[in-house]
């Protein structure tokens, strides 16, 4: 129970930072802290833990979105399952390169799924707007990829240092 409570508090803090701090600055608007966190959680702690985070983060962030309730949770769920599959079947170890590739796949997948879901809900009249795929959209995806790569690099460095210092190699569940 305490584990779930911790997860909820972490999710709430991350959502708060994303909605009310990162969105203020033009340079950080495209940075998807929540997505990068989920991708990294999937790599480090495995699918189960990241699903718990996805539930809390997805539902909380959906309160602040034009998309219908639970949509972002579904998108996160698809992304982390894809990341988990790729990590286990394509990449064999926890490396910097694999983290970067998975961040790119996650960011592009998230952007496309959001656009597809928004358009689907617009067609069935559940939302009033959709996401136009134009030059601006492509520009935002590229900015998001660059920013997310920087962030995942920071996460990677942090994780590597922590694992080395505290000898926590067993934390890497997927490597067992």
């Amino acid at each position: 129970m305490i584990k779930y409570l911790y997860s909820f508090v972490i999710a709430a803090v991350l959502v708060f930072i994303q909605v009310s701090i990162l969105s203020v600055f033009n340079i950080t608007y495209n940075l998807n802290l929540l997505l990068v966190f989920l991708i990294f959680t999937t790599i480090i702690f495995g699918l189960k833990r990241s699903i718990i985070f996805a539930v809390f983060i997805g539902l909380l962030i959906n309160i602040y979105s034009f998309l219908p309730f639970t949509t972002i949770f579904i998108i996160y769920l698809i992304i982390i399952m894809l990341i988990n599959y790729l990590y286990k079947n394509v990449f064999t170890n926890f490396s910097y390169f694999s983290s970067l590739i998975l961040a790119v796949v996650g960011t592009v997948g998230y952007s496309l799924l959001t656009a597809v879901f928004a358009y689907f809900f617009y067609i069935i009249n559940l939302t009033n707007i959709y996401i136009i795929i134009d030059y601006n959209y492509i520009k935002n995806i590229i900015a998001a990829i660059i920013l997310n790569l920087i962030l995942i690099s920071v996460f990677y460095l942090f994780a590597k240092t922590t694992i080395k210092t505290l000898n926590l190699s067993l934390v890497l569940k997927n490597e067992l």
Binding site: A12, F16, S20, I21, N26, I51, S65, F66, F69, T70
Partner: protein, 272 residues
């Protein structure tokens, strides 16, 4: 093997929770927890949004002398106020003339306002604001949102019980009927351009347009009243050979600097 089946069970369990959540959401059972979370969040969110917005602009204006900035802001406020008053007076004058002609006073132009604070932005749509007022405060879809003294900045596109999402006029999907201050009829359509400016389109060639003309809402839509300032014409982009005129409208306010907004609630909808 055991671990795999455990993982599968966890995924099925997650899906069951997800279906249950959708079900509970549509039945309205999630309103209380969502309201609780929002109540706890929104005060802090507004404070942090305001703080970081101010911080952002303090960096931008760091090189400027403080007194010059203050003076400029005061003058800008005065201009906006005078602009709003002037626009409203002209709109009222023309409306009054029409009303005198038909001797029938129409009270539909009266509105109530709901003050709201910006708590953030939608992460999937950059040209949006999330405000801390929703259905419980009488807000509904498509209601116009203004800032300062009658400057329209967007419309409501999503309403929850305690929260709403505002789509800015600069978004590509925003559309609004427009006119000039001194005209009674609608002259065209304002449409957002890449989140940066607003484009005025479908303006007949016989309408005279000049740079720096003030463009206001035409009142063509029942919910959006006439006379709300949209911006100034900064550039006329069409030529004489085009079927319609088009122009670029620059908003009179910097949308990114806003922290407080008002939602206009038309009285005709208040008893719904």
């Amino acid at each position: 093997m055991k671990k795999k089946s455990k993982n599968k069970l966890f995924i099925y369990l997650s899906l069951a929770v997800f279906i249950l959540l959708i079900f509970l959401h549509f039945l309205g059972f999630l309103n209380i927890p969502v309201s609780f979370v929002l109540d706890k969040f929104s005060a802090g969110q507004n404070s942090s949004f305001s703080f970081f917005t101010k911080l952002k602009y303090s960096f931008i204006n760091f090189q400027e002398a403080q007194d010059l900035k203050n003076e400029n802001q005061e003058l800008q406020q005065q201009i906006n106020q005078l602009l709003a008053e002037n626009t409203q007076l002209l709109a009222l004058k023309s409306e009054n003339e029409q009303l005198r002609q038909i001797l029938n006073f129409n009270k539909d132009s009266e509105h109530d306002y709901v003050m709201s604070k910006i708590v953030g932005k939608d992460i999937n749509r950059s040209n949006t604001f999330i405000i801390n007022k929703g259905k419980n405060d009488g807000i509904a879809l498509d209601y116009p949102v203004i800032a300062g003294h009658g400057v329209i900045i967007g419309k409501i596109i999503e309403v929850r019980n305690n929260i709403s999402v505002v789509l800015l006029l600069t978004d590509n999907l925003s559309q609004l009927g427009i006119t000039k201050q001194d005209l009674n009829k609608s002259i065209g359509l304002a449409q957002g351009e890449f989140g940066l400016s607003i484009k005025a389109e479908l303006i007949p060639q016989d309408i005279e347009l000049n740079e720096d003309d003030i463009i206001i809402s035409s009142g063509l839509e029942k919910i959006v009243p006439r006379g709300l300032i949209i911006g100034r014409i900064s550039r006329i982009t069409s030529t004489e050979n085009d079927l319609f005129k088009s122009a670029i409208i620059s908003p009179v306010l910097d949308y990114q600097e806003l922290t407080v907004l008002s939602v206009i609630i038309p009285k005709i909808y208040q008893n719904d």
